[in-house]
Symmetry: C2
Subunit: 237 residues, 2 copies
Amino acid sequence: MDRPAVAVARAGSRAADRPETRGERKERTRQAIMDATLALCEDSSLVALSLRQVAKEVGIVPTAFYRHFASIEDLGLALVEDSFVSLRAMLRDVRRTDPDYGDIIDSSITVLEEHVRSRHSHFAFIARERSAGPPAVRAAIRHQIELVERELATDLARLTDPAYWSTEDLAVLSNMIVTLAVGTTEAILSARHDGEQAIVEQARTQLRMVLVGALRWRSDERAPTDRVEPVEPAERG
Amino acid sequence: MDRPAVAVARAGSRAADRPETRGERKERTRQAIMDATLALCEDSSLVALSLRQVAKEVGIVPTAFYRHFASIEDLGLALVEDSFVSLRAMLRDVRRTDPDYGDIIDSSITVLEEHVRSRHSHFAFIARERSAGPPAVRAAIRHQIELVERELATDLARLTDPAYWSTEDLAVLSNMIVTLAVGTTEAILSARHDGEQAIVEQARTQLRMVLVGALRWRSDERAPTDRVEPVEPAERG
DNA sequence: ACGTTGAGTGCACAGACGTTCACTGAGTTC
DNA sequence: GAACTCAGTGAACGTCTGTGCACTCAACGT
């Protein structure tokens, strides 16, 4: 285990022996750097990663790194971009599957699970660096998540009755669903394989619980807070 | 800004000139190390912290560190212990305030806000290292959070009707509330001061939404998933 | 064909890193 | 008050860090 693990393909990887364009080579090395970085900080974090570790893993000399990124932090910002491409691909799949399938909740969580599995280094990167990355990376991730929240809020507006749901409360609901999705993602990523199904089932139940509440919600009422204690006598049997 | 910022008090800090016990001094330095570490990894993470940085901040020589901890990871485990003392103090306050105050939700979130503010380095540590710390630290934090979830589940059992709530669903609800609490904590910690009140209000609304759902929940029904689309015709006006 | 461009090389540097070791000297135990 | 304990010292080590600089040489523009 001494030679690069996520190395940039040394020579003639495929496709006969076409000479390979200058831009192609650069892009390939850039991609190799990003892959190696995702692999290396899978346990720990970007902030604990050195430029030389990345270079060694890729199979280039440390100074060659600067041809692609000005710093590790700069690399991190590029990885945020890449990771949110994966996340948005998931959101597209969620929306695409919704009308077909009968149960929005089941299908949404299934799509989440599939994407988290297949692109797990991207989702893990977002979840980790969101709170532990370099300040600029944290800011970029939080901004992207905020955009996603706003999108989800407009989606929810189409599914709810505007007479009962204020736009503020839609934003709050959207934030809650995103928070739960992040939590579920983290749980899937840190679960052993045999525990994954239980987590997915839990996420489905949670989403159902939230939507039971959503069905009964009225933005102009200050909700059930004073009815929460006398719950037993209410409607039994 | 060259001399230690969170230094162990050099000599005769207070209390006349009592010679100071050996154990007292050790405990004081140990505490200074932990405080300095919390301060240093406030932005970034434990895994990005060097033993020498900590020593310099405390005002001791690097090798003196080993008199207190075997490694940074070991230090991290001690910080987990300390941080969860703060978290459990918060839970105690939540439970203590509940019966007095009319509104469980308002008072709980208020208590959360107060504790997160006054012990914010502890809460920030948990939130950050939970997903970015050294593996052993991550494991310790997840275990502690799991214990908290179990406690909350038994609390919830006392507030809900056992005829409608299975113990499994109580665990799921508990997990959801903890996830939301973690999310709210992270939001408070990364908010500018003027945005904090909005976040607190959002957390209250979210908890209300969840409890509206909880009131209507029946563990033996597969919830409202097929009623989520025809929501407009249901009960208007 | 020929000069230019630029990704990747190789060396060199000064500084920070974790850890070792023998040490000092104040607090403790007899 | 003499012997002991042990938190903190200070120098030294080999290794790893980011970055500067002069370089090569294949793809590129003309």
